[in-house]
Symmetry: C2
Subunit: 281 residues, 2 copies
């Protein structure tokens, strides 16, 4: 049965958006809609133009009979900055300050609209780089890791402080928690990371970088490679960080009676001229 262009465009948008970073073939769409490949090619041209002009993402089209299209989500710098400014405004409400210079932010990291934007933002940094797996450590990094995994369309895995029977055999590392200088342990199921795979390390908060350093050691134990480090918020830290290169959305400066939240380093990390050239006309 032949399908009208308007119906095809709606269904193709939905289909491609649900499968970011995956090549969907012309043949697949042509059979799905009973339409000629030339019509599908025209549809993809329209899709590409609209997705780009609305700042939704890039539609990479691979030409030829064996070709197809791949949707690469991103978030334009202006929208990213507005989003981070909005988060800062929420976090600056006085009733969020907790004893000891902490800020209550668990509610934000449970809101689907916030998590979607965090995922899109970090996925923007890896729009052209290969990431095979997202790694985080329980508990609070999980929602961020899951959202990034959703936009990169790759699995995420969770290291734990307590290794559980349901994880099977695990690999564990010891690391020094940066802020408290305690020795801690984290374990990851042996089945989690493939050798030589590229791993994106993610957490909700980084101070001295001890926990992120622990995850870097884990990646090494699996003979895998660190593709990058991304955190929702970095805290102010006097000493030298164990993690030289990372992306943060927020910076939190806390004293005992005052907390200041400012934008992290995401703009200079993500919106480099080389990367911008890929998705701006």
């Amino acid at each position: 049965m032949k399908v009208r262009r308007s119906d095809r465009l709606i269904d193709m948008t939905r289909y491609l958006l649900e499968r970011p970073h995956r090549l969907v073939s012309l043949t697949f769409f042509s059979e799905r809609y009973g339409s000629a490949k030339s019509s599908i090619s025209e549809d993809l041209t329209i899709l590409k133009r609209t997705l780009k002009s609305r700042g939704t993402g890039l539609l990479e089209t691979v030409p030829g009979a064996a070709g197809g299209a791949r949707f690469i989500p991103y978030i334009p710098e202006k929208e990213a900055t507005q989003f981070v400014d909005g988060v800062i405004e929420s976090l600056s409400e006085a009733d969020r300050f907790l004893p000891g210079g902490y800020v209550y932010m668990s509610d934000l990291l449970g809101r689907p609209n916030v998590l979607r934007q965090v995922g899109r933002l970090i996925a923007t940094q890896y729009l052209a780089d290969q990431v095979d797996t997202v790694l985080t450590v329980a508990t609070k990094g999980i929602p961020i890791a899951q959202s990034i995994s959703d936009y990169l369309n790759v699995p995420f895995v969770i290291a734990r402080h307590d290794s559980q029977i349901t994880e099977g055999s695990t690999v564990s590392v010891n690391y020094v928690s940066g802020s408290s200088s305690r020795i801690e342990k984290m374990a990851l199921s042996k089945r989690s990371l493939a050798p030589d795979s590229r791993v994106l390390i993610v957490d909700d908060f980084m101070k001295g970088g001890g926990t992120v350093g622990g995850m870097q050691s884990l990646v090494k134990e699996f003979d895998a490679k660190v593709a990058g480090v991304a955190v929702f918020a970095e805290g102010s830290f006097a000493g030298e960080r164990r993690v030289p290169n990372y992306t943060s959305l927020l910076k939190i400066h806390a004293t005992n009676d005052h907390v200041e939240v400012t934008p992290g380093n995401f703009a200079e990390q993500i919106y480099t001229p080389e990367r911008l050239a890929q998705f701006v006309d």
Copy 2:
């Protein structure tokens, strides 16, 4: 600037899909595209037809000048059954059996395509019922809770066994773990649940129902209401369950040397004649 119908349909699809269960007004779309409300109404009719015929979801249209459209995602029964059958096939691989009759399933619950389908499936049960918040307990229920929260477009909150300083004041309950008969404790930030709100309780695995019972007690402590209980897998249990009514995707029967995985009760829980009447012609 006026926008062509094809461009509008692509952008509207994307916009509505990212905001499930939320009413988007005709006025908003009309201003966004510089188009007459009558044209937008026609667009919505096309969208409604395509989303329904492809089994993507329901587009509820609210008539009149103050009206608009609301996208309600669902998954048709056939697609749900195929998805669960696929999960059962994966889980039945021999190398997943762990000592003590456990099954390794952490990898599945870290795959974005699996989590999306789990979220759509459970959201289908609540397509016409109000849910204000999704509640789970750390750690393994989190990815499922997040995906359901994404499709229902409501926040999720996480109870924890160890209460942390970053949660602020908490409410805690003691409960009896069904399988081990130990007394355990879980705590939830005081800011998490509003009085009288409707809470969907979610976990990855339920055996005796002790943990889910603990979450029910928490909901009561907040003067909120349980909207339902959903688990990824239920284990076989000899005694009487503390949770009379729940939805499960899988049933896992485990002995020391053999594990059998079969479909849970989702078909009879979700695909009732009343609910089917809402989304099938």
